[in-house]
């Protein structure tokens, strides 16, 4: 709640933002190095290196939607402008991560499954629907000129999209799918060998921090943008 005030948010994030950018860049560099230093998988060969960009994009893309949905809830119920700014700022990186998950998954699927895409596969379709929710959210905001109305309509859509998150997560357990089941968050611990687990976890942390850097920067920009619009309106009224 401390950061709910836009001025406090700007003051607090000013020194934090460059630190998060630098940490994300360092983790990305380490993650890339570890990804190509890791041995190839005994079954999948070098295609396993696609996992190091596919899994982080998919898992963080899913978490970004959770952030968008929770922010939408606060924007809708408490009419908090910073929550709306947070939801708006999460949409584009969320869509970008989810698109990366779809495309890199396709590039991994072709050599391993023999298909770029499988219509009707539960995991693939639920992630595609997640991507469409992101696109719908951005399109809805862009299609309504009145920013207050656009924010409310988009917040409702953002909340509805939350229903899809457990479907994406558990689709591999609930339905038949070519996609492998969860290999990190399992009752018996990760099934990924430690040689591959280190680069994977590093890249997941890097993708998460990179999103955080983009998100904080975008929320700050959104606060500034709204101040500019308010100032312009005030000047126009005074003229």
């Amino acid at each position: 709640m401390f950061l709910a005030n836009p001025d406090r948010f700007l003051r607090f994030t000013r020194p934090v933002m460059p630190v998060v950018w630098v940490l994300a860049a360092v983790l990305l560099a380490v993650g890339v190095w570890l990804s190509f230093a890791a041995p190839e998988d005994y079954q999948q060969g070098d295609t396993v290196r696609i996992m190091f960009v596919h899994v982080p994009a998919a898992s963080v893309g899913l978490m970004i939607y959770a952030a968008l949905g929770v922010s939408s809830f606060f924007a809708l119920v408490f009419r908090h402008p910073l929550a709306d700014a947070a939801a708006r700022a999460a949409a584009l990186p969320g869509a970008a991560y989810t698109l990366l998950a779809l495309v890199t998954g396709s590039l991994w699927g072709k050599p391993m499954w023999g298909a770029w895409w499988v219509w009707g596969d539960a995991r693939l379709m639920s992630v595609l629907i997640l991507f469409l929710f992101y696109l719908g959210y951005m399109a809805l905001r862009a299609s309504i000129d009145d920013e207050t109305r656009a924010a409310r309509a988009a917040a409702v859509l953002g909340l509805v999209g939350l229903i899809n998150l457990p479907i994406v997560k558990f689709s591999v357990d609930w339905w038949n799918t070519l996609h492998q089941p969860a290999s990190l968050l399992r009752a018996n611990g990760p099934s990924v060998t430690p040689d591959l687990l280190a680069p994977l976890l590093t890249m997941m942390a890097a993708y998460g921090l990179f999103f955080l850097a983009v998100w904080i920067t975008s929320i700050r920009t959104e606060i500034v943008r709204r101040r500019v619009l308010t100032l312009r309106a005030r000047r126009a009224h005074e003229a």
Binding site: V53, L99, V214, S218, T221, R235
Partner: protein, 63 residues
């Protein structure tokens, strides 16, 4: 030791990594450019006399 020889899977591994790098770089560039533009616009408005109308500034940045 780093292994950059992706063998027969190079046509799948490198596009996945290249696209990921391009999208992350694009995201970073977009948010940094937008942040600079809007901050500059706010500074410009703050520096202007309060009575000057500025609702349709052609130099205004896009969202």
């Amino acid at each position: 030791m780093i292994d950059l020889d992706m063998g027969r899977y190079a046509a799948f591994v490198w596009p996945a990594w290249a696209l990921s790098a391009a999208v992350l770089a694009g995201l970073a560039a977009r948010v940094v450019i937008a942040a600079r533009r809007w901050s500059a616009e706010l500074e410009r408005l703050d520096a202007e006399p309060a009575t000057v109308g500025d609702a349709q500034s052609p130099a205004a940045p896009e969202a």
